[in-house]
Amino acid sequence: MKKLSFILVFSFIATLFWSFAPTNTGGDRLIGVWEPSNGRARVKIEKIGAKYYGKIVWIKEPIDPVTKKPKTDKNNPDPDLQKVPLMGYRMLKDFTYKGNDEWADGTIYDALNGSTYSCVIKMTNENTLNIRGYIGVSVLGRTDVWKRLVVKK
C-alpha cells in the first residue's frame, strides 16, 4: 500500500512538472507547408535549433521569361546573391515562439523588391497564419493570410 501511495504521489508530482515544464511543442505547430494569399508560391516552414525558418518550395511561374531558366533572386541588393535560385530560398528567418500562438523576432524577404522586413506570425487557427511584415513599428506594415497545405497522397 505504501508502495502504491508512493507511486501515485510520484506520478502526480511528475504529471504536474510535466504540465508546467517549459516546452516548445506549441511552437512546432508552425511547421508545415503554407501558401500565401496570392497563391504565387508555397513555403515550407521548418525548425532549425530553437528557431523557425521558411523556404520557398514551389513557384507558380518558376521560369524566368527572359533567361528561360529557373528564377533567381535578381532583385537582391547584393549582386553576389542575384544568381541564387528562388527555389529553396529562405524567405522567413529566425522566428522564435513567444507563446500565445505568436512567433516573432524574425524577418520576411520580399523577392519582388529585394527587401527584408521585420515580421511577426500569428496563428489564428491550426490552418491559418497572419504574417505581418513591417518597417520598424508594426503599424507600418502589411498582413498576409497564409493557408496550410497538405501534400496529396
Partner: protein, 382 residues
C-alpha cells in the same frame, strides 16, 4: 542539385529538419538558401487542409513603384507671369471704393512644402484599409509685391494658398482576380492661416470607385467613376486604371486616367524612371483678408479654381532600404486659375461647359507656364 557554390560549406539535409527534431542544434551561418537535393515536385500536388479556403488578389502587381507611407517634399515653380482680371459681378461683393483693375504681375517663383502620410489601418488579405493626410502649401513670390493693387494678387502675395486634407482608401478583393477600389478625401483649401482658420463647412469632398481585374501578376486594370476637383471645380468623370509591367520588368505603365499617367522604366527594383503627366488642382476659398486694408478679400462666396497639368520626368530611387527619394522635373501648364462665385455656397457644376457654362467666372486669370521641380523623401510600404 547544388544551387550555388558559395553555400557549399553550409550544405545540410533538409529532411533532418522536417521531423521537427530539437536534436539538431547547429544553425548554418547563411540561412538564405537550402543547398540540398530535395524533390520539389512533391509540392506540385497539394490541397488546403481547411475547407472553403480562398485566394484573393493582391493590390499590387510585380514591378509597381512602391507606395509611399510618409512623404516630405518641396515643390518649386520657376518665374512666370500672372494676369489677374478685374473682379466682375462687383455689385454683389462686399465693400467698395477699391482698385479692381486688372493687373499683370511677374512672379520670381512659387513654392511650398508638401507633406503627406498614408498608413494602413487594416492590411489583410481580404481587405486593405488605409488612412491618409496631407498638407500642401503654395507661396507666391512676386517680383514687386509693393506694386500689387489687384486684390487677388495681394492676397496671394500675403497668404498664398494651402490645402490640408484627410483621405481613406479601401481595397476589397472579391476573389483571386477581381477587386473593388474606393478612395475618398476631404480637403480644406484656401488662403487661411493657422491663426485664422476657415469653418469646416468649406471642406471639399472627392471620391472614386473602381471595379477592376488583375488577370496576371503583371497587369491590373479597372474602370470607375470619380467626383473630383482635379481641374479646380467639381466634376464627375469616368476613370480608368491600368497598371502593367512587361515580362522583363523593364517597362511598365502606372495609369489612373485622367488624373495621372506614366510610363515606367525600371533600371532595377530600387531605381525607376517615369515619364508622364499629372492633373493637379483644388478649389481655394478666399477666406483671408488682404495684407493691405484697401480691399477685404474675405468673401466666403469666392473661390479660386486652380487646375494645372504637370508634364514631367520623375526619378525614384532607394536611398537606404525603405527610404526612397523622388526627384521631379517638368513643365507646369496652367489649365485654370479663375475666380468663381458660389452663390449661397452652392457648387457650380458646369461639366466642362457641356451641360451648363453658367454662371460665368467672376475673374478670368491667365498664367504663363514655367518649369517646375519637386523633390521628396519618402518612407515606402512593404
Amino acid at each position: 542539385m547544388l544551387f550555388h557554390s558559395k553555400f557549399l560549406p553550409f550544405t545540410f539535409v533538409v529532411a533532418a529538419f522536417s521531423t521537427g527534431s530539437t536534436i539538431w542544434a547547429q544553425v548554418p551561418e547563411n540561412t538564405d538558401t537550402i543547398i540540398v537535393e530535395e524533390d520539389y515536385s512533391l509540392y506540385d500536388n497539394v490541397e488546403y487542409t481547411e475547407e472553403g479556403a480562398r485566394r484573393f488578389c493582391s493590390p499590387k502587381i510585380e514591378g509597381l513603384s512602391p507606395a509611399k507611407l510618409i512623404s516630405i517634399g518641396y515643390d518649386y515653380q520657376m518665374g512666370y507671369n500672372m494676369s489677374a482680371d478685374t473682379l466682375n459681378s462687383i455689385q454683389t461683393s462686399p465693400g467698395g471704393g477699391f482698385n479692381l483693375n486688372a493687373q499683370d504681375a511677374q512672379l520670381l517663383s512659387s513654392h511650398g512644402m508638401r507633406i503627406g502620410f498614408n498608413i494602413p489601418v487594416i492590411a489583410k488579405t481580404n481587405l486593405v484599409w488605409q488612412l491618409g493626410g496631407n498638407y500642401w502649401e503654395q507661396r507666391y513670390n512676386f517680383a514687386d509685391p509693393a506694386s500689387l493693387e489687384n486684390p487677388m494678387l495681394k492676397t496671394l502675395s500675403a497668404y498664398g494658398l494651402k490645402t490640408a486634407g484627410i483621405s481613406t482608401t479601401l481595397f476589397k478583393p472579391l476573389n483571386d482576380k477581381y477587386f473593388l477600389l474606393f478612395q475618398g478625401s476631404a480637403d480644406y483649401s484656401g488662403n487661411y492661416t493657422l491663426k485664422d482658420m476657415m469653418p469646416l463647412n468649406y471642406l471639399k469632398y472627392s471620391a472614386a470607385l473602381i471595379y477592376g481585374k488583375r488577370p496576371s501578376e503583371l497587369k491590373q486594370w479597372g474602370v470607375g467613376l470619380a467626383r473630383t476637383y482635379r481641374v479646380g471645380e467639381i466634376n464627375y468623370i469616368p476613370v480608368v486604371l491600368y497598371n502593367s509591367t512587361d515580362t522583363q520588368n523593364k517597362w511598365g505603365t502606372e495609369i489612373l486616367f485622367p488624373a495621372r499617367a506614366h510610363v515606367r522604366r525600371t533600371i532595377n527594383s530600387r531605381n525607376m524612371l517615369f515619364a508622364g503627366y499629372e492633373l493637379e488642382g483644388q478649389s481655394y476659398r478666399m477666406w483671408n483678408t488682404s495684407s493691405v486694408d484697401a480691399y477685404q478679400m474675405r468673401d466666403d462666396e469666392l473661390e479660386i479654381r486652380r487646375g494645372e497639368i504637370r508634364l514631367r520626368m520623375v526619378y525614384e530611387f532607394s536611398l537606404k532600404e525603405f527610404i526612397w527619394m523622388s526627384i521631379q522635373a517638368g513643365y507646369r501648364i496652367n489649365y485654370r486659375f479663375d475666380m468663381d462665385r458660389l452663390m449661397n455656397g452652392e457648387e457650380n457644376y458646369r461639366a466642362f461647359g457641356l451641360i451648363d457654362d453658367q454662371p460665368e467666372y467672376v475673374m478670368i486669370n491667365n498664367l504663363t507656364n514655367p518649369l517646375y521641380f519637386n523633390i521628396s523623401i519618402n518612407l515606402v510600404s512593404p
